[in-house]
């Protein structure tokens, strides 16, 4: 009990010090921020509907990039995650697969987009590859951890029938992990839609380019329209996730 109190107090103290260093207790600065928020908000309303055709087209490109990038990343991450499963492969193989996933994950999605702009030129193809790369790093780790958490009794029972590694992936890992596999994939798709909306900042296609133009030209009413469009897509994704979970996931996990 005393230890818990001590740890709580220590964390609170640390938080206070860090927030202080970051300027959290600078009242004048915060008040200025609140005033600026008021000004910015007033300048964003009402949203400018005239940009809908342009923003809509860019949004469609963003959704395409996110979908293609997520699915491409999923297809690559799946075998990588299987290789990273210590129950199936030797420590050398699984460590190398996990190291590869960690390396890919270390690079932020924006940097991946810049790398692919250099490799394949400006446009949505670079964005798609960037999203795919980041997705590989993230999903490969999540899925490898998921597979390792599979009930050892199920593994032992199916292994004792003489099943091969491929059989185990198909008949144990996939169905046992179906809930989590789909949930993480949908989360990744939603994350990528939000992430890819800024990839246009570095020339990788989608809404980001439009947003950047409106920000630089201080056309905040037009920016508000773009933000509302993103919100609509994210809400639609939420609905789609809920529907897919309801219809395709059966066994309670």
């Amino acid at each position: 009990m005393r230890t818990n109190l001590f740890v709580t107090a220590l964390v609170a103290l640390l938080l206070g010090v860090v927030l202080g260093e970051l300027g959290f207790f600078d009242g004048a600065r915060l008040m200025r921020g609140v005033r600026n928020l008021g000004i910015l908000t007033s300048e964003m309303f009402p949203p400018d509907a005239n940009v809908l055709p342009v923003a809509g087209k860019a949004l469609w490109e963003t959704v395409q990039m996110s979908f293609a990038g997520t699915m491409l990343g999923f297809l690559i991450s799946f075998p990588l995650s299987v290789l990273g499963t210590r129950r199936l492969f030797s420590p050398v193989v699984s460590s190398l697969a996990r190291l590869a996933a960690a390396g890919i994950r270390t690079v932020p999605v924006l940097l991946w987009a810049i790398i692919f702009v250099i490799l394949v030129g400006l446009g949505p193809l670079a964005g798609t590859f960037g999203i795919a790369a980041y997705t590989v790093g993230y999903l490969a780790k999540i899925y490898a951890d998921l597979f390792e958490g599979t009930d050892p009794e199920v593994m032992e029972a199916v292994q004792s029938t003489g099943a091969s590694k491929l059989h185990l992936v198909r008949f144990v890992y996939l169905p046992e992990g179906a809930n989590a596999i789909l949930t993480q994939l949908l989360f990744m798709l939603e994350y990528n839609i939000r992430a890819s909306s800024i990839l246009g900042f570095v020339g990788a296609g989608g809404l980001g380019f439009v947003m950047q133009v409106y920000l630089q030209t201080l056309e905040y009413r037009r920016l508000a329209t773009v933000l509302l469009l993103i919100l609509m897509v994210v809400l639609a994704m939420d609905g789609l996730s809920a529907w897919l979970r309801k219809h395709f996931l059966m066994a309670p996990s």
């Binding site: 199920v154 029972a157 004792s160 003489g162 059989h167 066994a251």
Partner: protein, 248 residues
């Protein structure tokens, strides 16, 4: 060494020692012989190593010392895959895949002799599907094949697990406390079906169990595991002095 009365020995352990951690022996110099085509029951209080013993006999765990010989083949010299048709293993929680149907789970018993082509798409040879259906019929749940396992009752799941093991066409089946969660009537019915399968197919069943009433009813050959060693017959205090529900 405990010798079975029957001359035909399905499974033999010779001086088996096993520890999960260095020298913390769970099994100490275990030697036993199990008769072919009979139901052998391993008794003993919880935590005495019954599960470990069955896993060693099934080839899932490798003993640090000693040998396990199944149908005159030394387990260590064979890979799990080559032994697959000979040894079936049913874990305590049955090891079924909940998100697949009863039929799909039973068909997994055939994986050892199926390739990777169509099977990976879920398409098993017709002959295997017919045999899987026959195994489900034998267990009395032929009409439940298309049900997902998570929708089945405890007793139905036990039957699916046995059907899966039967499709494997094993000569020896090792089952770990797998009727322990069932009520007496259902456990008796399932054990009856096992005895029938053992007699029909000449399968050797080895089951760990702690419910004395069931053991008295079904154990043709009873062993007791205590302190890492096996003794023939019931635990020393005798089954009549214990609760009919549990030994431990």
């Amino acid at each position: 060494m405990i010798q079975a009365e029957n001359k035909d020995i399905a499974l033999r352990a010779e001086g088996v020692w096993f520890a999960y951690r260095d020298h913390d022996w769970i099994l100490k110099n275990i030697s036993l012989s199990l008769p072919e085509g009979k139901v052998t029951i391993v008794m003993g209080p919880s935590g005495t190593g019954k599960t470990t013993l069955l896993k060693v006999l099934a080839g899932i765990l490798s003993p640090q010392r000693g040998n396990v010989v199944v149908l005159n083949q030394l387990i260590e010299t064979h890979t799990q895959r080559s032994l697959c048709s000979a040894i079936g293993y049913i874990p305590q929680q049955l090891g079924l895949v909940r998100n697949l149907t009863a039929m799909e789970n039973v068909l997994m018993g055939a994986l050892g002799r199926c390739g990777h082509g169509k099977v990976l798409l879920g398409l098993f040879p017709r002959q295997e599907v017919e045999q899987a259906q026959a195994a489900l019929d034998l267990m009395g749940i032929g009409h439940k094949g298309s049900e997902k396992v998570f929708r089945l009752s405890g007793g139905e799941r036990q039957r699916v697990a046995i059907a899966r093991t039967l499709l494997q066409r094993p000569r020896v089946v090792l089952a770990d406390e797998f009727v322990s969660d069932l009520d007496m009537a259902l456990a008796l019915e399932i054990l009856g079906r096992i005895r029938q399968a053992a007699a029909q197919e000449q399968i050797t069943f080895v089951m760990s169990m702690h419910r004395v009433g069931l053991v008295r009813e079904f154990g043709e050959h009873v062993l007791t595991l205590t302190h890492g060693q096996v003794m023939p017959g019931f635990p020393t205090q005798g089954p009549q002095e214990q609760s009919s529900a549990e030994v431990s």
